[in-house]
Symmetry: C2
Subunit: 498 residues, 2 copies
């Protein structure tokens, strides 16, 4: 409690909204992980009601009036109070602009399109999804019109995922990436293939699960505050402070879920580390999708695909899968899990080519929203650019334009946050290396406490108190910059001169 | 949709309330079954908010006004519309009488008392719980004052669990039970002990789980609409139509959870069978705790402890546990799982003595609420009555007055519904026997479809459309009557003349 009754009342109302959002999170998690299929219809109703009430409660007249009466400038910029008013005001002003009918239509259209996406992908049938994509795009155009015109239309969509980031900034970063990565991919291709055949064999799911849990416990997972479950499309969610839920998908024929699990751990440990004092307010979660992704990528790649990490874990992994890994030494394993190779599927892509998948989508999204590209031409545009950026011919829509659910779900502007996350991850990591001298030695000993604590106390703890850009500047001392990331990729993955 | 806009609006508002209650149910289930311990604080907040909003939405002025304007007599008594107005009006009139502050205080006091109950029971320390019981009782007295005076104070409490049932009716039924059961218990005791030693051995939990699932699938459990999980205190809940969740607790040293699982299945199949047309209204669940218990007892005892049932299942169970059960034949097993023996713990009691545990609690509850008994004298009263009814000396409070959580939770009036359920179960079962000729033969073949379908179409489908008494009369043609139950117990369990 503060000594400001208006602020206290605002906090009370926001806590109620947050409780409803937590309930909605649990309804979602349960649906994906636990619910028997027969519960789908009732769950859709319950989720819709809880989501709608959370929204109604948030855009209430009372919250609007309190925001009118409260002034963030009465408080120190860095204070909880100023942040709460500032961030809530921004969320509120965005939320009240969109009429509930449009939100409802977007949600309906998204649900229908997602239901059509599954079969369309299974049948590799782009025309079956096309009417839904057209409808989603039309609604996105109406959504954009709810806001003040921006420098670029895409800015308005991007803002939902990476608040206050401009398309032009992303474009500049991505142009830099493209310039540096296309030749790097070429160099690696010319250096010849890395053997990763031993990673494609039979890997018992129960043993994978056991090893993954051992690994996650080392990273900071505890049974007191975390869960790991299996689901078709892995995700992380936190239906309450002190309650972090990872999901993964143990594939019987490879070890990719180990890295997927570390990825979700990264998302989870970010939510886990948000200052408890920010809970039950709009400040109590990660600040943007990009910053979130920086942490999933940190734990998946900077930690989980490092030599030092596997120095500790590889002997244990070999003991779990002696038949499959017995003949591959640590260096062979390290190279195999870091193999760079242009491929069709984004989520299976390596650290380098992954970004080309994102840039492709970012460019197509802008073309769509700016009406330079009709949805019916999307498939051809996709296939042409896959050839241009990765030298790959797309054999079917399932492994092409239909592979991701984002567009069916109506999300435009989401994809770039993945590569922004990659970029930021290395900026943050390098800043940490200045403070923590012997990171590699710690990784080699299977110790993660100091790394985690640095990230927690410098980044996670901030939650949404500041803008994403402010957050990154506070942590790293500089704005988003692809330089460190490109250097990291080149140092780690470029062919060594013989 | 009907052609009555007021009724449509009422349904819309009630659907929203129901969605919130379903969300609250899931929050509860998850907390007991899935949630990491660290999520407790956030979950308490989310549950409180969702529960409060469901209540606020239900007692809203708009629902009150619609109920004023709608008249159930405009519709046929048996119609959905008349039932909806009638039942909602009754629920509403009860709900608006209790001030939110009192509800809040009761919830708080209950939470504190339940938190104290665990340690108090562990330490067998009645004085540690006493202040909480005194507080709960004081709040129950204030609760009673919210309502019009009844014939007996206890009527008002009983009504929350067994709507419209009078204490005097229960007393008459229970006096009849006592008159018949006390001598029956005596006769059985004189006939000598049944050997059930082979039921107390090591029973691997995984194998128990597998067998229990086989058994439940036979009864009607499907993976599409049901779950079975483990938890400390088993319960059933349904967080949505087509989504029934049973919990059980596999004990490593006996097979009791098999019966507990069938018990929860009975609760589950009742909710499962409610007419889908009643979903998202106050009519869409079981009608009372007593009728609910009649169905859990039906599937646990009338089905699950019958000779015919085990004729089918016992050979399979013997195959699962050959070491433990190899030397016991079917008849020995049947007699062992039906052994009547006065004991300390209600939830472990046999079909006959169970009712004496209930009658004891029912009588003490009336003494408490009518101020004939002070909470501080409860332990002595308990121990004296255990001696009187079951001839048992209570060695400590953990196995005496502290064994159940109900009073700590603030529930007074709940216990009698257990024995009312026993009584009703046999009335309903006997009515079914008139329509389904070869029930025993079906059970012997492991077939439950026709039994389940009779119960569904005659009882479950009705939901809360009628009062409990009306429901029982529609199904059985008569009012609640202990006669059939006592005859059943005597036929099944009385010693046979040599």
């Amino acid at each position: 409690m503060t000594e400001n009754p208006k602020l206290d009342r605002l906090k009370e109302l926001l806590a109620e909204v947050d409780d409803l959002r937590k309930a909605a999170t649990l309804l979602f998690w349960d649906q994906r992980v636990m619910m028997p299929a027969g519960g789908a219809e009732a769950r859709a109703e319950a989720s819709a009601t809880v989501g709608r009430l959370a929204h109604e409660k948030f855009v209430s007249k009372e919250i609007g009036a309190l925001l009118d009466e409260l002034d963030e400038d009465d408080f120190d910029y860095e204070s909880f109070e100023a942040s709460l008013i500032r961030v809530t005001r921004r969320d509120y002003e965005k939320a009240v602009r969109v009429p509930p009918e449009l939100t409802g239509e977007m949600r309906r259209s998204s649900a229908l399109a997602l239901a059509a996406w599954g079969p369309a992908k299974a049948e590799s049938n782009f025309p079956a999804l096309l009417p839904h994509l057209e409808r989603n795009l039309e609604l996105r155009h109406r959504y954009v019109e709810c806001f003040e015109p921006a420098d670029e239309t895409y800015d308005i969509l991007l803002d939902d995922y990476e608040p206050l980031m401009k398309t032009a900034e992303v474009r500049e970063i991505f142009e830099g990436l493209k310039r540096d990565l296309v030749p790097l991919i070429q160099e690696i291709a010319e250096a010849g293939e890395v053997d990763d055949q031993f990673l494609r064999g039979e890997f018992d799911a129960d043993r994978q699960r056991e090893f993954t849990l051992t690994l996650l416990h080392r990273l900071g997972f505890t049974d007191d505050e975390w869960r790991l479950d299996t689901t078709a499309h892995p995700f992380m969610c936190s239906p309450g402070h002190g309650d972090v839920r990872l999901t993964t998908n143990f594939r019987p024929d490879n070890l990719s879920s180990m890295f997927a699990s570390m990825h979700e751990f990264g998302h989870g440990v970010y939510e886990w580390g948000v200052d408890p004092a920010l809970q039950r307010t709009p400040l109590g979660s990660g600040v943007s999708l990009g910053v979130h992704e920086s942490q999933s990528r940190t734990w998946e790649n900077l930690v989980g695909r490092s030599r030092a990490f596997w120095r500790f874990f590889y002997p244990q992994l070999q003991e779990v899968f002696p038949e499959q890994l017995g003949s591959a030494d640590e260096e062979a394993f390290y190279r195999a899990v870091n193999r760079v190779h242009p491929s069709l599927i984004r989520i299976d892509a390596d650290e380098v080519t992954y970004n080309m998948h994102i840039i492709l989508r970012f460019e197509l999204e802008q073309d769509l929203i700016d009406n330079r590209l009709e949805p019916r031409d999307l498939r051809n545009a996709w296939n042409a650019r896959m050839d241009e950026y990765l030298g790959i011919e797309v054999p079917d829509d399932a492994r092409g334009v239909l592979q991701d659910m984002h567009w069916a779900g109506g999300s435009i502007g989401y994809f770039p946050t993945y590569s922004l996350g990659n970029v930021m991850s290395v900026q943050i990591w390098e800043r940490m290396l200045e403070d923590v001298a012997d990171v590699d030695e710690q990784l080699e000993r299977g110790e993660f406490g100091e790394i985690r604590e640095w990230l927690r106390s410098h980044l996670y703890v901030l939650g949404r108190k500041f803008t994403p850009q402010e957050t990154i500047e506070r942590v790293t001392g500089s704005r988003i910059d692809a330089g460190p990331y490109v250097r990291y990729l080149r140092e780690k993955l470029a062919p060594q001169p013989a």
